[in-house]
Symmetry: C2
C-alpha cells in the first residue's frame, strides 16, 4: 500500500510519529498584533512588554522561539536555568525572573545583565541586603492580591516596600515596583476591582506597576496606560484565553499532527477500545492514530473531540490510550495508512476547543506534551 503523498515539505520520517510543528513567525505576528492593540488604546503612555517564555516558552521551546520575540522589551522566565539559556542564546535586553526560585544570591553575578526579580518573601530581602551595590537588579514586589499563590499583603507588604526603599537608596537595587497576578482576568467586573485595589496600593506606596496579562490586555487594554510593564504569555502563542472571541487575530504557533497507522472496519454494534469505550451503531470505518496520552494528548478526551484527517474535519472515537487514539473515517473513504491527522493547530482544529473536551485550558495542552513528541520548526 503506497503512503499518502507527502505535501508538507517535511521529511517523511518525521511524519511516521507524533510531531509538533512550531511556527516562530506566528509568535512574532501575534506579538506585533498585541502591541498594536495596546498602543491603539494606551497611546503614548503604552507600557513596555514582557514576552513570557516560562515553561519552555509554553512548550514551544525557549531558545528556538527567542528570536521571534525580538520586538518585546524583555522576556519573562520561570527559572535561573531559563535565564541563563536566554543570555547564552544572545538575549541582551532585560529578563524578568518570575518568583519560583527562592534564592536571590545568584543575582549578585553582574554577568547576568539587567534582571528583574519578582520578590515574594521577607527572607529574600535580608539576603538582598548583603549583595554589593550597583547591580542592574530591579525588584518587583509581588502583591498576593486575590490570587494568594505567593507574595505579601497588608502591613507585611508595606513593611517590605519600606525595607526595599532603603536598598534602593543604598543602590543595591536599581528599581522597585508592584507586581500582581490577577485571579479574575477573564471576569470584567472582578478584574475592575482587582485593578482598583492595586491603584489604591500604588497611591500609598509609589512605584511602577506590572499587572496586565494576555486576558486583561485583550479584553480591556485601556488600563495598560496606568502601568509601566505588561506581560503576555498565551496570546503570543496564538491562544485566546477569553471565554468569547479575541478582539485581535491570533495565529496558532503550534500544530500537533500524527499519522494513521491502521484502519479498522467495525461491524454494527461492534466495540472499540479498552472497556468498549465506543460502540458503533452502524458498520463504520475507523482510523488508528499513532498518538495518545503517553505523548501528552489527554486521556480525559472522549468521543466527539474535533480533529482533521488530511485536512478534513473528523472526530475522536472512544478512549485515548497510551500510544494510539481512534478517529472516525466513515465519511472519508480516501483516508489510508499514512494519512496525517491534525490534533490541533491547523485545519480549523483549535487548541482551545480540544482543551475544553479535556475539561481544561489550552495552556495545559501546549505545556503538557512529553519529550516523546518530535519537535520541528517551520521557517
Amino acid at each position: 500500500m503506497p503512503a499518502t503523498p507527502n505535501t508538507t515539505g517535511l521529511p517523511t520520517l518525521l511524519l511516521n510519529a507524533p510531531t509538533l510543528l512550531i511556527r516562530p513567525k506566528a509568535i512574532s505576528t501575534n506579538l506585533a498584533a498585541l502591541r498594536a492593540h495596546v498602543h491603539a488604546y494606551a497611546g503614548s503612555a503604552a507600557p513596555r512588554l514582557w514576552a513570557v517564555l516560562k515553561a519552555d516558552a509554553y512548550g514551544h521551546g525557549l531558545v528556538p522561539t527567542l528570536s521571534a520575540v525580538g520586538l518585546a522589551d524583555g522576556v519573562a522566565v520561570g527559572s535561573l536555568a531559563e535565564l541563563y539559556d536566554c543570555r547564552a542564546a544572545g538575549w541582551t535586553k532585560p529578563i524578568l525572573l518570575l518568583g519560583l526560585e527562592q534564592d536571590v544570591l545568584p543575582l549578585a553575578d553582574p554577568s547576568i545583565g539587567q534582571v528583574h526579580f519578582v520578590l515574594h518573601d521577607e527572607a529574600q530581602i535580608h539576603t538582598l541586603a548583603q549583595l554589593p551595590p550597583h547591580l542592574d537588579l530591579h525588584i518587583w514586589l509581588r502583591h498576593a492580591g486575590q490570587l494568594n499563590f505567593s507574595g505579601l499583603k497588608g502591613q507585611a507588604y508595606a513593611q517590605a516596600y519600606q525595607q526595599l526603599q532603603v536598598l534602593l537608596k543604598r543602590k543595591i537595587i536599581a528599581g522597585l515596583g508592584h507586581l500582581q497576578h490577577y485571579a479574575y482576568a477573564e471576569d470584567p467586573v472582578r478584574l475592575q476591582n482587582e485593578r482598583a485595589a492595586i491603584l489604591e496600593l500604588q497611591k500609598a506606596l509609589p512605584g511602577p506597576l506590572c499587572t496586565e496579562n494576555s486576558s486583561a490586555l485583550l479584553a480591556s487594554p485601556q488600563f495598560a496606560a496606568h502601568t509601566q510593564w505588561v506581560r503576555s504569555g498565551v496570546a503570543l502563542y496564538g491562544i485566546n484565553p477569553l471565554p468569547g472571541p479575541s478582539p485581535i487575530d491570533l495565529q496558532a504557533a503550534m500544530t500537533l499532527r500524527a499519522p494513521l497507522i491502521a484502519i479498522q472496519t467495525l461491524a454494527p454494534n461492534e466495540h472499540l477500545g479498552y472497556q468498549a469505550s465506543y460502540t458503533s451503531p452502524h458498520r463504520r470505518r475507523v482510523g488508528i492514530v499513532h498518538c495518545g496520552y503517553g505523548f501528552g494528548y489527554p486521556r480525559q478526551i472522549g468521543s466527539g473531540c474535533p480533529c482533521a484527517v488530511d485536512g478534513k474535519a473528523s472526530v475522536i472515537l472512544g478512549r485515548v490510550s497510551m500510544d494510539t487514539l481512534c478517529v472516525d473515517l466513515h465519511h472519508l473513504p480516501h483516508a489510508r495508512v499514512g494519512s496525517q491527522v491534525s490534533l490541533w493547530g491547523e485545519h480549523g482544529i483549535h487548541i482551545e476547543d480540544v482543551a475544553a473536551c479535556a475539561g481544561t485550558i489550552a495552556a495545559q495542552l501546549c505545556t503538557g506534551l512529553t519529550a516523546r513528541v518530535q519537535r520541528h520548526y517551520l521557517p
Copy 2:
C-alpha cells in the same frame, strides 16, 4: 529563614524544583514477584515474559531501567528508536517491537539481533516476503479481538496466517504466533470470553500465544500456562491496574516530589487561586508548591487530592496552575519554605489514587510528565 534539613541524601539543588526519584530496584523486585506469582500457578508450563518498556519505560527512562529487567526473557518497545537504544545499552536478549511502526524493511538488518515484530496489516506481509531468509525475525500476528485498535480478524486473519506460514517455510521468518491485547483485562467474565476466543482461534491456526498483560497476570495467572509469552508493563513499575487490591506486593518505582516555595495565610472566606477555586471557611495556612500542570501534574485534580508534606498527610487545595499548586498546612505548623511535598510514590500517596482524582489511570500520570521535571535515579 533556614531551609528544612535535607535528609534525603540527594543534592539540595535538585530539591528546589519538581523532581522525579526513580528506583530501578523496585522494578526488579516487582518483576521477581510477578514471575513467582505466575510460576506458582502455571508451574513448569510458565511462559516467557516480556518486560514492557515502551513510552520510555512508562516515563521511568528506558536505558536507566534496562538493567532492572535483566531477569525478563525479552523487552517490548514501541519504536525502532527504542529498540536501537536497548541494543546500544547492551541488551542482547529478544526484543518485541510493538506494532506502532509501519515499516518492516529495517528488520532486514541482522545486527538488530532477535526481533519479534507485531504485524497488523496485510501490506506488511508483502514487504516481508522480499526480505532475505535466515533472519532471526519472529512474527506475532496481531488479532484485533475486542479491542479493535489494529490487527486483523476473521477471514483476513486466517489468510494472513497462511501467507506467513509460507514465509516461515521459506525461512524468511523464524517464528509465527498469535498476539492479542485484551479489551477487558479488568473484568473477569469478559476476560474469560476473550481468552476462550483466542484459544478457539489457536485450535484452527496452530501457533504460540502472547496475550496476557499485568491485569490478567495478577488477577488470574492460571491462564498463563496456556501461553508461550506474557507481557507486563504497569505492574513492573509498582502500579496496580486492578480495581481491587493486588494479590502481590508491588513497590512504587517512581516518586514525584516538589518543594514548598511560599506559605500564605488565608483569612476566613478569603479565596485562593484563579477564579477563586478554593475558599477557606476559617483562617488557614496554605503552602505553595513548585509543581503544576506544566510539569505533568494534571490540572483536572481539585481540592482534596492526597499528598504529603515532609512525610505528613495533607491534601491539594484549589486549582492546579502551570507552575504551582497549593496544599493544606492548617495541621502542619512545622512546614516551611523548603519543605518537601510528595505528590505520589511515597509516604502512602499512591499514584493510583492521585490518578483517580484526575479522572484517569496511573499510566497517564507516569508517562505524562514533561521534560521540565528533573529525573534522579536512586541506588
